[in-house]
């Protein structure tokens, strides 16, 4: 197997196998900095791999990043992989990345919902849920972003198994969600939780399960707006910033609500660009521009996290 990322086409959509191979290659090429950890396996027994970026040292604070919890939002997995290459290749040359990784670790889950991702490549391009089955039901899967233990079962999630926003039988019923929850609880020192979705250009912070402002509203709003401005500066893509409830809709059982209530103050969700017409069916020639602008937003938040320990 060729052990180099230099020929990998970041401007194309790839199969799960191809993404996992690229992650191996990245870990091999930057072996002192990047390692690949398995944090669990999906319902259909596919590994859940996290890339760990670390310059060493025990018990360091860390930033969590995940992408593609809704399988069909392919630009998010592609953006995550591009971001991984960016972080690895610019450590030691880019002052911001260097200082960040000299202070903190980064964990990046490139494909959060691998079963759904494979299903969207082979059977149904519009698939968004997991692929878990329940006895006595014809319908498959749970919306993994309605399955977290944060206002679980409340408004903006469905109890109907066939619905695209079916919340599941109980919080953390999906092994993909539970694996992340367990990893973060066991780590114990995660300071930011950033999740990458795609649709309608939004940067959101808690809450979604209730329409009240979080205790850190002022700071989160300031950080979010600064990140959105940084993002916009590259290609002019405009992002709206606010709580989930005020920018999109009330939705219960979402990941950043759980992470915030768990004590991770800097919890944000990105909804990447869609041109206003294609949704998550973004043409491949927009992957790299999307990743580039998203990186500026991510970097802005990560720098704030680095400079504001708590």
């Amino acid at each position: 197997r060729e052990r180099s990322n230099s020929n990998f086409n970041y401007g194309a959509y790839h199969s799960l196998e191809s993404i996992y191979t690229a992650m191996d290659d990245l870990a091999a090429e930057y072996h002192g900095l990047v390692s690949k950890l398995q944090i669990g396996e999906s319902y259909e027994k596919r590994p859940l791999y996290v890339l760990k970026f670390s310059t060493g040292g025990p018990d360091r604070p860390a930033i969590w990043l995940d992408a593609g919890i809704h399988a069909r939002e392919w630009v998010t997995q592609a953006t995550a992989l591009w971001t991984a290459q960016k972080i690895a290749s610019e450590y030691g040359t880019d002052p911001s990345i260097t200082s960040l990784l000299d202070t903190m670790d980064i964990f990046l889950l490139v494909v959060t919902n691998p079963d759904g991702y494979v299903y969207s490549h082979t059977k149904n391009r519009m698939w968004r849920k997991t692929r878990s089955k329940a006895a006595g039901s014809f319908c498959v899967g749970v919306d993994p972003n309605r399955n977290w233990d944060a206002g679980f079962g409340g408004p903006g999630s469905s109890d109907q198994r066939c619905s695209d926003s079916y919340r599941g039988p109980h919080a953390n019923s999906e092994v993909e969600v539970k694996s992340i929850v367990d990893f973060i609880k066991n780590h114990g020192n995660i300071k930011a939780f950033l999740t990458i979705h795609s649709y309608s250009q939004l940067l959101m912070y808690p809450y979604g399960y209730k329409c009240t402002e979080p205790a850190d509203y002022r700071e989160l709003d300031t950080v979010g707006k600064a990140a959105a401005n940084a993002l916009t500066s590259l290609h002019g893509t405009s992002f709206k910033v606010g709580t989930i409830c005020s920018t999109i809709y009330q939705a219960s059982g979402g990941s950043i609500d759980w992470s915030y209530d768990f004590g991770i103050k800097y919890s944000f969700a990105f909804e990447l660009r869609d041109t206003g017409r294609y949704g998550f069916l973004l043409p491949a020639d927009q992957i790299i521009p999307t990743a580039e602008e998203t990186w500026l937003g991510l970097k802005s938040i990560m720098e704030h996290v680095r400079d504001h320990p708590y």
Binding site: M126, D164, S165, T247, G279, L281, P283
Partner: protein, 93 residues
């Protein structure tokens, strides 16, 4: 492989809370097999729905009857998927 020939994505602009309620009702009609890309929440935000070809007539009639404004965001979902597939084949080459 499921196909989406003739499926359309509609962008709906509700003008009142009453229209939002109507769209929330639409969301519960499972036989229409609607895929909400943006769920109805308040009139300031659009609602995007992928409507299977077989449900288009019913949904348009519903919107027309309740005087809810909409535009077509994607004319034929399968058309975009075909372009995407071609792009992937060419990338693999």
């Amino acid at each position: 492989m499921e196909t989406f020939s003739g499926d359309q994505v509609l962008r709906i602009r509700a003008s009142s809370d009453d229209q939002i309620d109507k769209l929330q009702l639409l969301e519960t009609l499972e036989h229409l097999q609607l895929d909400f890309w943006l769920h109805p929440s308040n009139p300031a935000l659009p609602v995007d729905i992928r409507v299977p070809f077989g449900s288009l007539q019913a949904v348009r009639a519903f919107l027309g009857y309740h005087d809810i404004k909409y535009s077509i965001l994607i004319e034929d979902v399968q058309g975009i998927l075909n372009e995407e597939k071609q792009e992937m084949i060419s990338n693999q080459r």
